[in-house]
Symmetry: C2
Subunit: 494 residues, 2 copies
Amino acid sequence: MSGNGQHTHGNGAGANGNGYKVPTGRAEWIVKRKAEAERTGDWNMSQMHFARKGLITEEMAFVAQKEKISAELVRSEVAKGTMIIPANINHVELEPMAIGVESLCKINANIGNSALVSNVDEELRKLHTAVHFGADTVMDLSTGGDIPMIREQILRHSPVPIGTVPLYEALSRVKRVEDLNIDLYLEVIEEQAQQGVDYFTIHAGVLIQYVPLVAKRITGIVSRGGAIMAQWMTAHHKQNFLYENFDRITKVMAKYDVSYSLGDGLRPGCVADASDEAQFAELKTLGELTRQAWKSDVQVMIEGPGHVPMDKIKEQVDKEVELCDGAPFYVLGPLVTDIAPGYDHITSAIGAAMIGWHGAAMLCYVTPKEHLGLPNEKDVKDGIIAYKIAAHAADIARHRPGARDRDDAISHARYTFDWDKQFALSLDPDTARGMHDETLPDDYYKEAAFCSMCGPKFCSMNWSSKVDEFNAKEHGLKKPDLTQIVTEQMALRS
Amino acid sequence: MSGNGQHTHGNGAGANGNGYKVPTGRAEWIVKRKAEAERTGDWNMSQMHFARKGLITEEMAFVAQKEKISAELVRSEVAKGTMIIPANINHVELEPMAIGVESLCKINANIGNSALVSNVDEELRKLHTAVHFGADTVMDLSTGGDIPMIREQILRHSPVPIGTVPLYEALSRVKRVEDLNIDLYLEVIEEQAQQGVDYFTIHAGVLIQYVPLVAKRITGIVSRGGAIMAQWMTAHHKQNFLYENFDRITKVMAKYDVSYSLGDGLRPGCVADASDEAQFAELKTLGELTRQAWKSDVQVMIEGPGHVPMDKIKEQVDKEVELCDGAPFYVLGPLVTDIAPGYDHITSAIGAAMIGWHGAAMLCYVTPKEHLGLPNEKDVKDGIIAYKIAAHAADIARHRPGARDRDDAISHARYTFDWDKQFALSLDPDTARGMHDETLPDDYYKEAAFCSMCGPKFCSMNWSSKVDEFNAKEHGLKKPDLTQIVTEQMALRS
């Protein structure tokens, strides 16, 4: 099987598509670190804690190799808070990865069942598909059935960090939203942290005083966590219990090195509601909570919207950087129009590419099924491909080193009519080959200097090669030599 | 059949999905205009010619109604050259439309066979699909079989302007590229103009002195017209015969009111080649040719790339406006990465949305089959939907009046769980409904306050409505009333 294959699936060992070695001994690294904690009594296991002590952990070194940046840069970014390495000490199957503006733009895939659809086998298939096509992290948003069992299965099979929204499991354990409380919540996060969840979305920034700000919105509160907390607060006339007990939560995070993904409970749910007072009021609070978490050396990223028209996308990043001191920005989409249910992987890939270019560190995918139903395996794949495109386009536009190499290699293969290389270097080789072969299936055409679009007499690249001959003969001008880049890129896909 | 249905298909009469009346008497307007020409001896039939004489034609009035702008604004924009109305006097089936920065962003669909695939029936089905889902213009790029017959059928069935690249038919009439000449070319454009083609892509800006500039490119010349002209010039060591005989071509354009679509023969074919010397040298020449055409009151738009990384997209528009005096910019994509053959409707919709926001007037779609084969009917549909999304997102970001109404209406329907309205207001109602019904097919669920994504206990909008009740009771705050917008938008889709 060709494809992206950035990850071996399941056991976390072996070579992968990016050409680096998967760590075989994460469990050993952690044993060593625990022994050290035993000795010193310092049980803060967070990467930020080590970074701030000046230590380069195995995870940091691994990430540096993967990103082709220096380990010291990784350490200093983690220490500052502008990069996170979500790596729960109990998720030993993990290949560590980094989220931050100094590293490549990442993508997350949401999977998980609902009370109405799907089961553990289907969710594991979605996990496999997501990882195969290049998801950098996966969130398990299950809300139905045996949530802990599904999560256990996902964690034990996942080489990528797993995120959850613990509020969902908490709610599943009570009858009504009003019955939620901090003790139950702490119990849930302790259990999930122990299982190995790498980051938690926590909606601690939705404060009771912000609730009236959503009245003027068309779509009110569309974040599930945000809406749950708002309903709890309005029912009890009390402040958000996650905000009130933030330090207690932080203690659990530090012990297992779970990273905060501070949820944007008031993100806009349509373009009309984008960048409003409610959204930015919460963002300001997320900034305060970031600084609070950093006091305990706990890693933080910040979640962002949602639905935002193109002219307001840059502002989203600027505000986040300003209010949250550059903590990595993890955004859902954003969708740049609301009129295309069934195609929201596209409406949102536009916004995602743009916000990635402006500095978002991770893009949470949206599938074609968004707003309509729970995604199935095909929807997961379609969402992933759209977001690989968005993140890669962002890396190119930000001029991240080497980001354009794969483009240059595939373009060279295209120009030289090397169809097999063109397929191999593409995001989805099987689909590319299938579309080509739909009209010209014979092997003969894999070396043909045309395709069915134009046929031999009307192929521009065919003529262009004659123009190259003219340029060489008349002007002594040679084409650029891309042999090395093509060879390197092909090696990464084999 | 619901859907976009902006156009009745074929006869050019009746109501359509945008709520305006299709002209029943375009043939009569033209008879009247010809009688006037008989009287005065002025046979320049171009909309620009009338506009510059201060006349508001029926086409201008019609377009003004459609765009909800004043007829005088349309006239003055057409007179200036910043808006065109491609409307050949022999294309009587046409519903006139405008391309320019003062009107809504438009999209074009390329259809047409190749020597290897497709026939007239299939091309007519593609035309129908393209127009049904909202193509504003269609280009017939046929290069195989009986080209004039296919074009005749397309013209006679098309309510939208039809564009062609006359060089293709010219080449089909000779054995080798070297055999092309201006007399043959003039014969072809005269025949096509007489049939009613509304705009011609003409690659008159690829000059012989620019040929060496492409040597350093990875993908050389990827425009078919550009590559043909380059090969002709290098074979003959002569200047581009379209450039040399530009005024003779212009005469034909004026007589039938065919608009120039000045082709970008040197557009970049990969992100590495974007914004290079070759591209901008040609663009400067296109600017000179624009001013030359305008001397004869002939309408002009300028074609643009291609493949461009996100950080260079705004520059493309800025240069075009500067070098071509604001003639409408008609761009292909651009693709923001090269690594996703099979998904280039997405790689390019990202660039298209952005360039539309920055001021491109029309976006030429790219289908999933780009670089791989001739698009079929499904590819045409997928391309159109991606580009309706891009153009609409551009209209929203440019704050074009009323552009967001449909978004607001669908968002309101979504928030109030009016599933049927949500489907009806979407770009592709059948697909949206199908995805929803995949898991919850019963009619009962069309009024359900949840979908299979979250189920009833985890639906944010469900909880949010309770928060609305709190805001109303405790703070006296009411939700915005969208009844009128929803009613208007629903009426447009009925």
